[in-house]
């Protein structure tokens, strides 16, 4: 069984009389350890799909099964617990907590998990090392550059060793050089730490880093020029 199974998911927004349907019966599977890029025109529903998989938005219909849990059936509280244990989310703008230091920001997801203080310290140390920011542990977000902040954001996303790391345009607000650094870092997270990665991006070069590339077009998923569905993937 695949790590992620999105089955026939539809998302609708009611906007007065008309209904907007950014996702229309989308199906997708992601294997453990894969690095998937998700591209598509602006407004095609990329963020919507990513947020559904991350469990921070609710699908109108369909099911999303991640590591054997159908997250569409979880209550709000249970879904939050599930996110704490299974999701690492990298935002476009890092979204660090401004009053907390780099160290405390990275530690935050661990506080929600059953873990000793010593274990937490060890994990934060490893995560900060992975993004090469050990020396900045006691700095506040405002004392860091955009690239450094994003690296702290990545450390925070991987520190709890989540089932899947999702990133919504992680390089969207960075310059070329920093973008390169961050993409390099994400590749390492996938290859060296073996984490499953789903990355939404506008940038074709960034998308090319991924092992697998899919596109969203008019509410449907296209892979290698073909519409994907659970069935086609299973028989492939």
């Amino acid at each position: 069984m695949s790590l992620v199974e999105v089955n026939n998911v539809t998302k609708e927004y009611a906007n007065g009389e008309e209904t907007i349907r950014p996702l229309d019966g989308v199906s997708l599977t992601i294997e453990r350890g894969d690095f998937v890029s998700l591209m598509g025109a602006s407004g095609s529903g990329k963020s919507t799909l990513l947020n559904l998989i991350a469990g921070i938005d609710l699908a109108t219909s369909g099911e999303i099964i991640i590591a054997d849990t159908d997250i569409t059936r979880l209550s709000r509280g249970k879904l939050a617990d599930w996110r704490a244990a299974n999701i690492g989310y990298i935002f476009q703008t890092h979204n660090l907590i401004p009053v907390l230091t780099a160290y405390e920001n990275v530690e935050l997801p661990l506080v929600l998990l059953p873990m000793t203080a010593a274990e937490r310290r060890k994990r934060v140390q490893i995560a900060l090392e992975a993004v090469d920011l050990t020396s900045r542990a006691s700095h506040y977000p405002r004392q860091m550059s955009g690239g450094q902040e994003q690296r702290v954001g990545i450390a925070r996303a991987i520190v709890a060793n989540p089932t899947i790391v999702v990133a919504d345009e992680p390089t969207g607000s960075l310059d070329d050089e920093t973008t390169e650094q961050i993409l390099e870092l994400l590749s390492r997270v996938n290859q060296e730490l073996g984490m499953t990665l789903l990355m939404v991006t506008h940038d074709a070069d960034a998308g090319a880093r991924a092992r697998r590339r899919i596109r969203l077009e008019r509410g449907r998923l296209i892979e290698n020029g073909q519409e994907t569905s659970t069935r086609t993937l299973r028989t492939a």
Binding site: I56, D57, A80, D81, Y89, F91, P98, V99, L108
Partner: protein, 380 residues
Amino acid sequence: MFPFAPYVIKSLWRHRARTILTVSGTAVALLVFCFIGSVQKGLLALTEDQQADRTLIVFQENRFCPQSSKLPQDYATTISKLSGVTEVVPMKVFTNNCRASLDSIVFQGISAEQLRVCRDLTLLSGDWSAFEKQDDAALIGQAVAGRRKLVTGDKFTIGDVSVVVQGIFESAVAAEDNLVFTHLDFLQRTRGVNEYGTVTQLEVHLADNADPEAVGAKIDAEFHSGPVATTTRTKGMFQADTVADLAELIGFVHWLGYACVGLVLSLVATTTVMAVQDRIKEHAVLQTLGVRPLGVFRLVIAESLLLSVIGGMIGVVGSMLFLSSTGLSVAAEGVTIAFRPSWDLAVQGILIAVVVGLVAGIAPGWQAAQSQIVNALKQG
């Protein structure tokens, strides 16, 4: 939620100007609340202590100010013969100010033996024998001593009355800490006018099985056709009647106490609402990381609770220090209401701060917990 304590504290500190203003506003309101509470308790103490309904006060009929009540001292002899009466204490009362005042000095002239028996005083300085031996000696309550900065050995003059402080006492009855006790005959002879043989009031102590009302009626009947008619009431009623005007005012002021609680509620709630609106996105990020909606609710409650309790503590401690250091009281017509700090008032103040902190956080906490993560993340 304990691991989030640094986050809550640092968040409050990030907006320190707002936090300090809210905390100090809360502190001032709680200080006023406790002060009003102590005034109320002082008033209640006049009518609710043990002595209040087991002791009678005989006063001249239709007189209110101690200066104008003049009873023959030998009434005491007549009264002490009535059944149910155990002791009659003739007292001369002199005050520098018959109207309601925050700094009136009330002298009570009582014979030394009766003072020793009928009042529960603990001398903080000076001694009894020096007081007993000297004509113009006085024992003064600690609140008066504090207010007028008097020590044993000082000479102390109010109007025509000049006394020498031979002791400072603490009384079991808070209101008595605002009195000056002198010898009865000293106060009768002073002020040029020789009032020897007349007293202001007679304090009648009763046997345990005596009915205060019946004895009171008997006393008044006894002197009805005498040279001076009397009005006899229990000490509690006498004091309540005497400070009736003040009591009405104090009863009104107690609404201000509730207003203070309302003030704290709106102050803390406003600050918490602002804090939540500032951080809609931040709370969404926390939820994305896996904080439950209930967890966000608790974080908001923790913030409002902290604001209110810190402010409350400062206010309560401040009011207790203020009350105990100033020994304030208000007196009217020789009866004083003492404003004293008390533990149950402090506990009440802290409890109010806790409840207000919790209540103030409910609406903003609920709002924060209910927000849609995806929409909230889009906020700037």
